[in-house]
């Protein structure tokens, strides 16, 4: 269905249900959809599973959502950082569940979800504790681990510009997980710095075509 341009971040996150799996873009704060997360905090959805590369930095964005106690489980590759004190405290207190996924498997599992792939064999993690309990297969003399897609109910993505058809461009390394997450959720919500008219984006430069984007808000 065509993309809806929202007037406010609150309108953009309307209807996110308790218990949802929410894919949250960003590598650290680059590409983190901070205003959408703030709106989600106000919206009140809880018991969330959050899929993101990190588990929050400082007190803003994802860290703020965690601090409010809205997140039951985090699926991420790198929770422990110098400024991840919100997650660290919740984790040590046993108040949040962690599924640690190697970063490439995290990205590829969401890519698979968005591309209709049922599962795939990855060499990453073979022979390590992160592959324990998973099916493995020898292919051409190498060990691979069966990895399943990660599908979101919602993706929250921070990008640079979108046109009114929902075509999205990113800026520099803030692109990171955004384009993959945009494909992998039932509802994809993108915050941008600017919404431009249809035709204003170079079609050759569009990274996320509007077919993947349900709602856009300029913040």
């Amino acid at each position: 269905m065509s993309t809806r341009i929202c007037d406010t971040a609150a309108e953009a996150v309307d209807g996110i249900a308790d218990g949802s799996t929410v894919l949250v873009g960003g590598f650290g704060l680059a590409g983190m959809p901070v205003q959408l997360i703030d709106a989600l905090i106000d919206q009140g959805a809880t018991d969330l599973t959050v899929v993101s590369n990190n588990a929050g930095n400082g007190d803003t964005g994802l860290a703020a959502l965690l601090a409010k106690g809205r997140v039951r489980k985090v699926v991420c590759s790198f929770p422990r950082q110098s400024d991840s004190y919100v997650f660290d405290e919740l984790y040590r207190a046993g108040r949040i569940e962690l599924e640690l996924v190697p970063q490439g498997n995290l990205a590829e599992r969401m890519r698979a979800a968005g591309a209709g792939i049922g599962a795939f064999f990855s060499p990453t993690g073979a022979g390590t504790p992160l592959a324990e309990g998973k099916e493995t297969r020898e292919i051409d003399g190498r060990t691979y681990v069966l990895e399943h897609p990660i599908k979101g109910d919602v993706a929250l993505v921070g990008a640079h510009r979108a046109d009114r058809m929902g075509n999205v461009v990113y800026r520099k390394t803030a692109r990171n997980f955004g384009p993959v997450m945009a494909t992998a959720a039932a509802t994809t919500i993108v915050q941008v710095r600017e919404v431009v008219e249809v035709g204003a984006l170079d079609p050759e430069a569009v990274v996320t075509p509007g077919i993947y984007v349900d709602r856009v808000v300029a913040v």
Binding site: F27, G28, L29, A30, G31, N53, N57, S77, F78, P79, R80, Q81, S84, F87, D88, Y91, R92, L98, L100, V101, P102, Q103, G104, N105, L106, A107, E108, M110, R111, S122, P123, T124, G125, A126, G127, T128, P129, L130, T143, H160, Y170, R171, K172, T173, A174, R175, N176, F177, G178, P179, V180, V207
Partner: protein, 212 residues
């Protein structure tokens, strides 16, 4: 003993840089290995990859150059060089798994004689594990260099017969650059390439792995 008189971390980084071929595509991970970038010749044609989606990454940003949209894997603001490109995370890790990177340089808690690496988790019950891109780099790059001190603070060797910490990758490390020696690891065993302020015999006496 004389093993304390080895290379500084900057000297180690310079030694690693010496072995990176001209024109190579290289990932320097996070932490100490990123120091290697300071020792690459400007005309080397080496292209740095950062896992968060960039090729031909430049040096750290200073002053007005700082841009919150342009970070390295350690989330430090960096700059772009002419000929840079940006791509999403799935493509970035496809470059690793697909064998397109020539070299990666990783830190480690332990490396085994057979080239296993442990660098993501101490296994301590209160430790918060974090793996990031280490497992993808370890199995993906054509050559995996490790840069670490040879001995832990308590004096125990970090080049070991078998890793006791949880593994990051199996049989993937090709070279180990330490403060006191450079080693080659592989199916045949560990070969001493070069020593700094120590001797082969001293190393053989302190390590539990047979040296070729």
């Amino acid at each position: 003993m004389s093993l304390s008189a080895g290379l500084s971390k900057h000297e180690m980084a310079a030694r690693v840089a010496q072995d990176i071929p001209r024109g190579a595509y290289v990932n320097l991970g996070i932490g100490q290995p990123t120091l290697v970038a300071d020792h690459l010749a400007a005309d080397s044609g080496i292209v740095l990859h950062t896992e968060n989606g960039m090729l031909n990454m430049g040096r750290a940003a200073v002053g007005d150059e700082v841009d919150g949209d342009l970070l390295n894997a350690g989330k430090v603001p960096v700059t772009e060089l002419a000929g840079s490109s940006y791509f999403h995370s799935a493509d970035s890790f496809a470059m690793m798994r697909g064998g397109h990177l020539d070299v990666c340089v990783l830190g480690a808690f332990q490396v085994s004689a057979g080239g296993d690496i442990a660098n993501w988790h101490t296994g301590a019950p209160d430790a918060i594990p974090a793996v990031g891109g280490a497992m993808d780099l370890a199995i993906g790059a054509k050559q995996v260099f490790v840069m670490m001190t040879l001995f832990a603070k308590d004096g125990t060797p970090k080049l070991v017969p078998a890793c006791t910490y949880p593994l990051t990758g199996v049989g993937c490390v090709t070279r180990v650059y330490t403060d006191v020696a450079v080693f080659e690891t592989g199916a045949e065993g560990v070969r001493v390439v070069e020593t700094f302020g120590t001797s082969y015999d001293e190393l053989a006496a302190r390590l539990d792995v047979p040296l070729l």
